[in-house]
Symmetry: C4
Subunit: 230 residues, 4 copies
């Protein structure tokens, strides 16, 4: 019944090790079918090279398993909160990719330093606040999602113009219109996180010009975009 959705989510999960974003079973991709109100998500702790279509778990927005024999990702509750709050997103990717995780461990926003960043992310990529001890001890994964949402509201950031962020002490969450788009953004985030860290070794205070950031973001996004075909 959900075969096409599960195949897409499997294929997108398999892209994570191909792009060097995950080690072992770390990381997970989910995709939502908004019409049917179901989410397909990677099972918890299963090796990528052994994962099959039927290992992908189908859940509803309360986290109830509708199809599949395995436990869904331990981060499922985070995904659910993000889907509920960010209506326009169709897929979520979580990894511990090295450089994005390094910025998360440093608990610092990833500064916008070049056009590679501006082509995809409009402005500095936010690093969340720490969770409180209570938020960690009770419903940790759900509270992680709520904190991300709160961070975007508080800073008045549009999740469509900022398709990812990093959770303090943990690592990146990215999203997109579908699973391939979300994985694409996760790859870009890792690339710009690496370049930002090394740029900071050369120059502690540089930032991209706002006009240049605008130019690059809007030549690829929105009504006046002219990058690509059509």
């Amino acid at each position: 019944m959900y075969t096409a959705l599960k195949e897409t989510v499997l294929a997108a999960n398999l892209l994570l090790p191909q792009h060097g974003l995950v080690t072992f079973t770390w990381g997970n991709v989910s995709q939502i079918d908004r019409r049917r109100q179901v989410i397909a998500i990677k099972p918890s702790g299963v090796e990528y090279d052994q994962m099959k279509t039927d290992d992908i778990v189908i859940i509803d927005l309360n986290g109830k398993v509708l199809e599949g024999k395995l436990n869904p990702s331990s981060d499922t509750a985070t995904h659910i909160e993000l889907y509920k709050a960010f209506n326009s997103i169709g897929s979520i990717v979580h990894t511990h990719s090295r450089y994005a995780t390094i910025w998360a461990q440093a608990e610092m926003d990833i500064p916008a330093l070049g056009t590679t960043h501006a082509d995809y992310f409009y402005g500095d990529i936010p690093c969340s606040r720490r969770l409180t001890d209570q938020e960690i001890q009770t419903e940790y994964e759900k509270n992680t999602g709520l904190m991300i949402i709160d961070e975007f509201k508080h800073r008045q950031i549009d999740p469509n113009a900022m398709p990812g962020m990093i959770v303090a002490g943990h690592g990146p969450f990215c999203w997109g219109k579908d699973a391939f788009d979300a994985v694409h953004n996760a790859v870009v985030l890792e690339e710009i996180a690496m370049m930002a860290l090394q740029t900071r070794q050369l120059n502690q205070s540089i930032k991209i010009q706002q006009t240049l950031s605008d130019k690059h973001y809007f030549r690829k996004h929105g009504a006046n975009a002219y990058y690509g075909q059509k």
Copy 2:
């Protein structure tokens, strides 16, 4: 009619992911046929592993498409200006290769620190000034080309002895006598950008001896070269 030219440009574009210089569709190679006054250039936003000979776009020096169904690279106007100003170059390569981009983001010239650099680039590799807001907002890609040319004139650098540079906040442009030569220079630029960054972690102020730079550059270039065969 332009099949051989398009095949060359396709092959050179495919070298970019092979050498680890590009992610996704980033980067582009063009080559000019100076006798026929046409340029072959990568289409905008097409995946490398799906690109075919007929996807390469043929344009004239006004940017008019002569052959091909796809839009040419969004950086086409930059290429055109460089071909018009630098008469001796036959090909241009633009990438967001990591370490060259890092120096561009830091808005610093890549200092000449060793013979690997001196074998190919005569002197520090210039990082451009920033574009003005107006230059960004109107004819951005064309103005990028004009700024590069201006930078070389202003600093009195010969584009034959300096087959590439970096644009502030953006990334590298390289060139060469043909598309394979230009890609070769782009690979070397990335290599020396990486080594220069790490050298600066050990030693903040070192520079190559001028005599040693001269020796290595001129044993490979010019009338008295003795490196290689013939």
Copy 3:
């Protein structure tokens, strides 16, 4: 007689170059059969791509060779001491993997900076003290093992919650319930050593929240674990 054990140890040794943890013949994996009181260990200085099942050496807990024509790893005496003192471990891995070795050379504990670390290692990963000149000159490899044990006792660290450490000026030793588990931990150690070093470039003093470390460690280990299947 020990074929299955030797096959396991061979397979685990071959994972080391696959994961990029070793160069040439560096590194070694052993596994103990506690019922029979024998250890299977990699031979000394043999190339990985030529190693066969029968090259794996079977020794007893006094280091006496029971089966095999080759000399066991020069680090055998270290392995033996660890097996004698840490009753719960079934396998030991020693490598000179780059980033773990870098922290060992810097003679600094690897600080717990994120959830990737907390998922596997509970607290900072200890770097041992230096051996005394006498400990080096007489029974060096045995004394390395005794020093590791002493370090864990002195700091009151449970080897089950800290499946590895680094020896000052040398490199990492990891362990696990079997050879694949121990190699798994060696891969993770390298990953978190890399991320910790780069995190320190951005932020000199940050540490993971204790509550977050507890949460991640105990959602994967112990009676209340809920990560993975079952």
Copy 4:
């Protein structure tokens, strides 16, 4: 007549790109046949993937070509001087491998910081002085060799216990008893150069204990070695 020698030198040269030590045609390996007083060396500027046995050039100790149609490596004169002065070496490798070159560009000795270093190189790896302008302008490659020899004499270093060094502003030269041994040392040099650089990011002043360095060097070299088989 020199087929076996040429095949060895070809095979050793091909190991350089396999180990990631060279880009394009950079780097060269030679081997001497001391009985016949001939050297086999890589031709200058030939691509590795097109190199054939007969492209390897046979020269005598005056640099005269005895066999082969191509020009020998432009660094030939350096190799010749080293063979004449260091009687015990059978092969020389020169590369621009990244991290060894970085230390050469920084014009700093590579400090002995761990047992990986001590297993192969006894003490800090010397970085040469700069050549004088005159040494560069006349017989540059020969003078590079003479300077290396002078550096070893001046510092009283035994080339058997220090199978390589770095030339200021240039890159590494390594040697060994034969071409495979010399390439092996070049790989190790790159590895320890990388780890030394990163160790210095964590700890500016640490050095390996002398006793530990002695222990590791002498458990692999000399009369009392016990590493490996026999």
